[in-house]
């Protein structure tokens, strides 16, 4: 008799499969020196290490947001529990009232008043004024108290963020100093001069920045809509944070679909050559020759028709939106495996002529075994580089596809939908900018972090591609 019923959406399941695969791969890599070495190289690059921390913050939000459940309706009979149709996530539970404090319509960031004038009964006469918000700044008596209150909250947030950062730093220093059998001071000196062998200064700085940002946001969000509200009065900060999961799912699951196709077909084409190569090349030239957006659009329209004609399959709106998200990932995956496949084909063509492959053939080793032991391990770094590089491109593509009208479900939280919804409001006077701005800033932060991390990975795994700095 629980108060909640866990819901595992399709994408949730796949996301956790992905996490499990990631953990397994990490453990495998940890045990192999030659696989570990390039990752150590990535970790030694300040930019990549800092970017990884930021990515980690995004991933944490995304994972929390992937633990879905439905609440039991309060008046449902105990023997036959009924659950709300609304699907919530662990993230929703954590942020609490951020989700529920809905205003009437637009309001600017940190505002106390609505963004539109309304007729309000005052002293018996109807006057057109900007009405007060129900939640934003509701604790304040009047406008005069707003700025000092905000300043107070910001200062408090900074103070707390910095102290948390100091605590973390202290713990880190204690642990590291003990591990390296150094005295505190010596470790600090090494840290200050960047002699740790890993980018200690960058890591501490990024942690401090993240902690401070979170603390400031927490304090402000308790009393205000930090990034304003949207057309239906929902908190933009909440929407932006909820969109993180969508972005991450598209960036990762799409690649998950791409990989088996790209690896299987690419290596097969390069290794076997002959008619296998001809057929695979034909397939990917055909796919490649259709403009990507059009192919995605055509496929998405078809999926849409399918979903709409079979409403009985999905019990909640979330499940329906989720299946569309998954379909989008599938479609983008099926249409975007070609470039990696071509790369792997070329590499396999080279590898198959190498002496160690010939030596294996001289022993009569089977093709599957040669591919498994000699070809695949030696192209894996290219796969990895492709994964991290494609990620940011996919996150950006989501926004464009939503604009075209073939992106995620319109009811789903996503940066693309935010931009699409707010775009027309630019014509308003004065302009409603915060929804667009929030979406762009969040997207930029994620994509920049991903790109910087991808750079680090690429330089470490394939020095030839990165060039000398």
């Amino acid at each position: 008799m629980s108060a909640i019923q866990p819901v595992i959406l399709w994408t949730d399941a796949l996301v956790f499969v992905l996490v499990a695969a990631g953990v397994a791969l990490t453990l495998y890599i940890r045990r192999h020196a030659h696989l570990r070495a390039p990752w150590g190289e990535v970790a030694r690059r300040p930019m990549a290490a800092g970017a990884a921390l930021v990515l980690l913050a995004f991933v944490t939000v995304g994972l929390l947001d992937s633990l879905h459940y439905r609440e039991r309706l309060p008046d449902s009979p105990p023997d036959k529990p009924q659950y709300s149709v609304e699907v919530l996530s662990a993230f929703d539970a954590l942020v609490g009232t951020l989700r529920t404090r809905q205003e009437k319509t637009y309001s600017a960031p940190l505002a106390m008043h609505l963004y539109a004038k309304e007729f309000v009964e005052r002293d018996g006469a109807a006057v057109r004024v900007y009405p007060r918000l129900k939640y934003g700044g509701a604790h304040l008596a009047d406008e005069a108290g707003r700025m000092p209150d905000i300043a107070r909250r910001v200062m408090l947030g900074i103070a707390q963020g910095v102290s948390v950062a100091f605590l973390v730093f202290g713990a880190l220093a204690a642990w590291q100093a003990a591990r390296r059998k150094q005295r505190y001071g010596e470790w600090l000196a090494d840290w200050g001069q960047g002699r740790l062998g890993w980018p200690g200064r960058t890591v501490v700085l990024v942690v401090a920045l993240l902690a401070t940002t979170v603390a400031v946001l927490l304090h402000l969000a308790a009393g205000y809509h930090v990034l304003g509200t949207d057309k239906v009065g929902q908190d933009v900060l909440y929407i932006s944070l909820k969109s993180i999961r969508t972005g991450l799912v598209i960036g990762t699951l799409t690649t998950l679909v791409t990989l088996p196709l790209a690896i299987g077909l690419g290596i097969a084409a390069g290794y076997f050559r002959g008619w296998v190569d001809d057929v695979i090349q034909y397939v990917y030239t055909v796919l490649n020759s259709i403009p990507g957006v059009l192919l995605i659009a055509a496929a998405v329209l078809i999926v849409q028709v399918y979903i709409e004609s079979r409403p009985e399959l999905f019990d909640t709106a979330a499940a329906r939106a989720d299946i569309r998200l998954l379909a989008l990932c599938l479609i983008m995956g099926v249409t975007s495996w070609t470039s990696l496949a071509r790369l792997l084909r070329g590499e396999s063509l080279k590898l198959r002529t190498l002496d160690y492959v010939e030596a294996a053939r001289a022993f009569g080793v089977s093709h599957t075994r040669i591919i498994g032991r000699h070809i695949f391990p030696n192209v894996f770094h290219l796969v990895l580089i492709a994964i991290v590089i494609d990620f940011s491109g996919l996150v950006l593509a989501e926004a464009v596809l939503s604009y075209v009208g073939v992106g995620v479900d319109p009811t789903m939280y996503s940066w693309g939908n935010m931009i699409n919804g707010a775009r027309l409001e630019l014509a308003r006077e004065p302009v409603v900018w915060w929804q667009l701005g929030a979406a762009f800033v969040f997207m930029f932060a994620l994509v920049l972090a991903a790109n910087l991390f991808a750079d680090g990975v690429r330089d470490a795994f394939d020095p030839r591609m990165g060039g000398r700095r």
Partner: protein, 656 residues
């Protein structure tokens, strides 16, 4: 010394590691100074430092470089540019990579002419033509409009030399100028460099790892080891009595006729940044005492020679043919019974497709009717220059390329689809490049296990046992199995490759240039190992190589290949001593020798033609000094001369 170039105390660092340390030498006008050393000893970096062309991260730390009365090190970059290519020209090792692939040869030479001699337009073109003519490029006017890829390797290197000469340099730096070339072409290019030097009165700094090249070309020699110059002297004195133990080791490691087991040294050159205190050679030196490890030796002068060794002049005289030829049982023994491997009329043709529907328009006859036989416990050397098809023969034997025609028999059994798996165990291959032949992502033990697993040799426990045994057999440490190939040096990797082949206990081992990527000292170790394994296991070797000195040391029989066919075969000693086919003669003549005082020997003109379009009649006739009319019309039949088979009209006496 009338110094043209004077280098004092030169030190170079790359990313903080010192690769050249305190090198002092000089080159006089009109003389050739050879810098000799194995790979990684810093000789190329020395040359690049002279030109101030060190790679990114490289830095000239200290020392002076004087060219005439110019202090090269303190010149401004602008003035340095007039020295580069102007007073100092440089030739690089790999002519294919060193020439810009998308610019015409004439343009690339013209650039230097414009820069250093102010020539432009027609004058530049004429000067470039004259230069190409001077370096012996046939039809130079047409070659000006060629792109580098349209030239053969030898012509490319000639074009490279023409480019270096364009600024009329006082000093020519040649960095391994012939290492990438075939032996007959190497001889041509070295002859050219010698004549150019004397004609132009240039000084020449010749950088090489090859004692033979030094013997035939240098006036004075400097030996480098681990970033230091350790011995210097006039060529004749150096070759008569090398003083430094390292120099002596270089001689002892060289396979030479009439020598038994090669002398070898354990260990390898210390890496830059891990240089030991004291004498850098101490760790490998058989004479080293405590003093050597503590105190870096100073220069000692002995006549025309200088040496950095605490024992200079105290070591016993240099004994050249030290070990008498050991009683070589296998060599003396006659080849009896049925041969282990018998190849009859093997052909491998590759189709060339062209045109609208990709129809086959011709064949590259990579291997065109080769017959061979190798008996157990014996070595057959298959010798020829690059592109003659010798590697293809090896691969066809292992079914790595599909033969077009001919039969292959192992132990009397003809190779066919049915018995392929079983016969695979009989023959295995050792490849040339020790870096490309081991999968970097597999542990050494897994590499050794792969063949046993694929051919289902023994059970798991026996295989593990076998891995340990193999590692010991090829002289690798016991813990090597757990490590990955990158932890090993080139020589050690080649040992792993040999162990991998041995894992399935083959009776025939095909060795495809197994030592050509290795330094002399390491080559000696591998050759000794191969010889020991043969004595111990009764292995037969098909030894594919271009290096005749190695053949002399290892082989019982020899087969010389030219454009897909065997032109001469017979007992190795006989063929090498007195080759009959004109090509075999030229090949033997082209090897630079360290003992002979370079007698004038016939040089082979021209390049090996493309196997795509071999000349009619005898393939060799365009380059043959004895060619007659018959040679141009008909491919010669086999002529049997005792144990020997030669395919030549001239030998058969047909040409008159």
């Amino acid at each position: 010394m009338s110094g043209l170039l004077r280098v004092e105390n030169l030190a170079v660092e790359i990313d903080g590691a010192r690769v050249v340390d305190g090198v002092t030498f000089g080159v006089a006008a009109g003389e050739t100074y050879a810098l000799l050393g194995e790979s990684g000893c810093g000789k190329s970096m020395t040359a690049l430092a002279l030109m101030r062309l060190l790679p990114d991260g490289g830095q000239l730390v200290s020392g002076t470089i004087r060219l005439g009365d110019t202090d090269v090190r303190t010149l401004s970059e602008r003035n340095m540019r007039t020295v580069r290519g102007g007073r100092m020209g440089m030739i690089f090792q790999e002519p294919m990579l060193a020439l810009n692939p998308v610019l015409k040869v004439g343009y690339q030479i013209g650039e230097a002419l414009t820069l250093h001699r102010g020539l432009t337009g027609l004058a530049a073109q004429e000067a470039a033509r004259a230069l190409l003519d001077a370096v012996g490029v046939p039809d130079p006017a047409r070659r000006l409009d060629s792109y580098p890829f349209e030239l053969s390797g030898g012509l490319r290197q000639r074009a490279m030399i023409a480019m270096a000469l364009a600024g009329e340099p006082d000093l020519l730096i040649a960095d391994e100028p012939t290492t990438a070339l075939d032996v007959t072409i190497q001889a041509q290019v070295l002859d050219l460099l010698r004549s150019l030097r004397s004609a132009r009165g240039m000084g020449m700094l010749l950088i090489t790892h090859d004692l033979g090249v030094v013997a035939e070309n240098a006036d004075r020699v400097g030996v480098m080891y681990a970033g230091e110059l350790i011995e210097e002297g006039a060529r004749t004195d150096f070759f008569a009595a090398p003083q430094h133990p390292y120099s002596r080791m270089l001689f002892a490691a060289l396979p030479q006729p009439g020598r038994g087991r090669l002398a070898t040294l354990a260990g390898q050159v210390p890496r830059p940044g891990e240089m030991p205190h004291g004498c850098r050679f101490a760790a490998r030196c058989p004479h080293a005492v405590q003093r050597c490890r503590l105190e870096s030796p100073d220069w000692q002068t002995l006549g025309t020679q200088r040496v950095r060794c605490h024992f200079a002049g105290q070591l016993d005289g240099h004994s050249r043919p030290a070990v008498p030829a050991e009683a070589d049982v296998a060599r003396a023994g006659e080849s009896a019974e049925t041969p282990l491997l018998a190849v009859d009329d093997l052909k491998v043709h590759f189709q060339i497709r062209r045109g609208f529907i990709q129809r086959t328009v011709g064949h590259v006859r990579a291997v065109d009717g080769v017959s061979l036989a190798v008996s157990a416990g014996r070595t057959l050397a298959l010798v020829g220059e690059s592109g003659c098809g010798k590697t293809t023969v090896g691969k066809a034997l292992l079914d790595l390329v599909v033969p077009t025609a001919g039969s292959i028999r192992f132990g009397g059994e003809t190779l066919a689809a049915g018995n392929l798996a079983r016969l695979r165990r009989q023959a295995q291959m050792v490849f040339q490049d020790p870096f490309g032949s081991l999968n970097p992502r597999m542990r050494v033990a897994d590499i050794l296990l792969e063949g046993m697993e694929a051919l289902e040799v023994g059970d798991a426990a026996q295989r593990r046992e076998a891995v340990a045994h193999l590692l010991r057999q090829v002289g690798l440490p016991d813990d090597a199995g757990e490590r990955y190939p990158h932890a090993f040096s080139g020589g050690q990797r080649q040992r792993i490759a040999i162990a991998r082949a041995l894992a399935v206990s083959p009776r025939l081992m095909i060795c495809d240039e197994p030592t050509s990527a290795l330094d002399v000292s390491v080559q000696a170790q591998i050759l000794n190992l191969l010889k020991d394994l043969q004595a111990e296991l009764g292995l037969a070797y098909l030894f594919i190589t271009h290096n005749l000195a190695v053949v002399d040391y290892l082989a019982h029989e020899i087969a010389v290949m030219y454009l897909g066919r065997i032109v001469e075969s017979g007992p190795a000693a006989e063929v090498l001593r007195a080759p009959r086919h004109p090509y075999a003669q030229a090949l033997v003549a082209a090897i630079p020798r360290i003992d002979a005082a370079a007698p004038a020997r016939p040089r082979l003109a021209g390049d090996q033609p493309s196997p795509l379009d071999p000349p009619a009649g005898c393939h060799f006739h365009p380059r043959c000094p004895h060619a007659g009319d018959v040679c141009r019309q008909r491919y010669p039949e086999e002529t049997h001369l005792g144990d020997r088979i030669v395919r030549c009209h001239w030998v058969a006496g047909v040409t008159g």
